[in-house]
């Protein structure tokens, strides 16, 4: 049974609109050609989607993003940026999930360069999005080309961000989440009264999926 989530309805409505458009412009032939293209794509990329989902799920079990945070401090150098790239790569979900995780990583000690790298890596090369959307829709060659080209970019951005004269700390975040707001400027998560370090629990990042209730 297919659950009717809003995303599904939105996509369904857009597809319906596009179908009507195709009918209006090219008639039934256009609609049939569009459907044939879709069927071809599905057959071609179905196996890749399953394999990609399994790979992403296994990576999340093996390397939860929070675990990497303690190696992403300001002194972490290039290695910290590489780890931040990896964390962004395996970070699942949309902006609702990813931006709160930035707060978790910042609290666990990641510096601004690593945070910028993380956000860009998630936005550009997030594995889940590539597997679910890019691979099926645009094909393996295109997806691979764009992935290879995108791979070094988050690293560059983090490197640049470390040299820009704009400081950013948790204090500058309007929605600091429930835990981040507990610790005064500059203290680490380990000093915070709650003592729950995201980096210690494999599911720690999930817990921060809902601090949007705190937004102004």
């Amino acid at each position: 049974m297919i659950r009717l989530d809003p995303n599904l309805l939105r996509v369904g409505a857009m597809t319906l609109a596009a179908g009507l458009g195709a009918y209006a412009v090219r008639g039934w032939d256009g609609v049939a050609r569009g459907l044939a293209v879709a069927a071809d794509l599905l057959v071609m990329v179905g196996p890749a989607v399953v394999a990609g989902l399994a790979l992403a799920a296994a990576l999340r079990v093996l390397v939860p993003p929070g675990v990497l945070a303690r190696w992403m401090g300001a002194e972490s150098g290039a290695r910290g940026l590489l780890l931040a790239s990896l964390a962004g790569l395996i970070m699942p979900g949309g902006p609702l999930a990813a931006f709160p995780v930035v707060l978790v990583l910042a609290q666990a000690g990641a510096d601004r360069g690593a945070l910028i790298t993380f956000v860009l890596s998630w936005a550009l090369n997030g594995f889940q999005r590539i597997v679910i959307w890019e691979l099926p829709v645009l094909g393996a060659d295109f997806a691979l080309l764009r992935f290879l080209v995108g791979l070094p970019l988050p690293f560059i951005a983090g490197w640049v961000a470390r040299r820009l004269p704009i400081r950013w700390t948790l204090e500058d975040a309007p929605a600091r989440g429930t835990r981040a707001s507990d610790s005064p400027r500059g203290t680490r998560a380990s000093d915070s009264p709650r003592g729950t370090r995201a980096s210690d629990s494999p599911r720690g990042t999930r817990a921060l999926d809902e601090p949007r209730g705190k937004q102004p």
Binding site: T15, A157, I166
Partner: protein
């Protein structure tokens, strides 16, 4: 095409195996995660793929090839970057649209710039989420550090294009 698929299947199998070697619970969690993901996205894919096909039928024939064609070079890459940056909506809009453009004659490097611009600049997502969760300073820092990158991605893609003949699509 089949080479990258084979590589992917191999990687996935190896990763799952590693999970199981760490413990049955870890392995099972990865499998359940996979099944959950599949259940969630399969309906989306089934709905979105026809959209891509339909949009390709709608776009005027020479529009995409004129502005974003393979020969449009750096200008086309710049246009695509900006268009991607202001493109609203999630992946269910961006990817079908890129496919439709490709089928209508746009160049792959230009579409790499479009997807990268949509990912990196993402005006819509930046204003709605990044600003409210992380604040204006973070947005300023991130945009300053990354705004030329989608354009760079397009140029890099153009240079690498000979190695990915399938990227131009059908």
């Amino acid at each position: 095409m089949s080479l990258s698929l084979g590589l992917m299947v191999l990687l996935a199998a190896a990763a799952l195996l590693t999970c199981f070697r760490r413990g049955t619970a870890s392995g099972r969690r990865a499998l359940v995660d996979t099944a959950d993901g599949l259940k969630r996205i399969l309906p989306l894919i089934l709905l979105a793929l026809p959209m891509a096909g339909f949009i390709a039928e709608i776009i005027p024939a020479d529009w995409a090839s004129d502005w974003l064609g393979p020969d449009s070079g750096a200008t086309g890459i710049a246009i695509a970057t900006l268009a991607g940056g202001v493109l609203p909506g999630g992946p269910f809009v961006a990817f079908p649209l890129a496919l439709a453009f490709l089928k209508a004659g746009a160049g792959p490097a230009q579409m790499v710039a479009l997807i990268s611009g949509w990912s990196v600049l993402a005006l819509h997502r930046t204003i709605t989420w990044e600003m409210t969760v992380l604040g204006g300073r973070f947005v300023a820092l991130r945009l300053l550090a990354s705004f030329p990158l989608p354009f760079l991605a397009g140029l890099l893609a153009e240079a690498l294009l000979p190695f990915f003949p399938g990227a131009a699509l059908r």
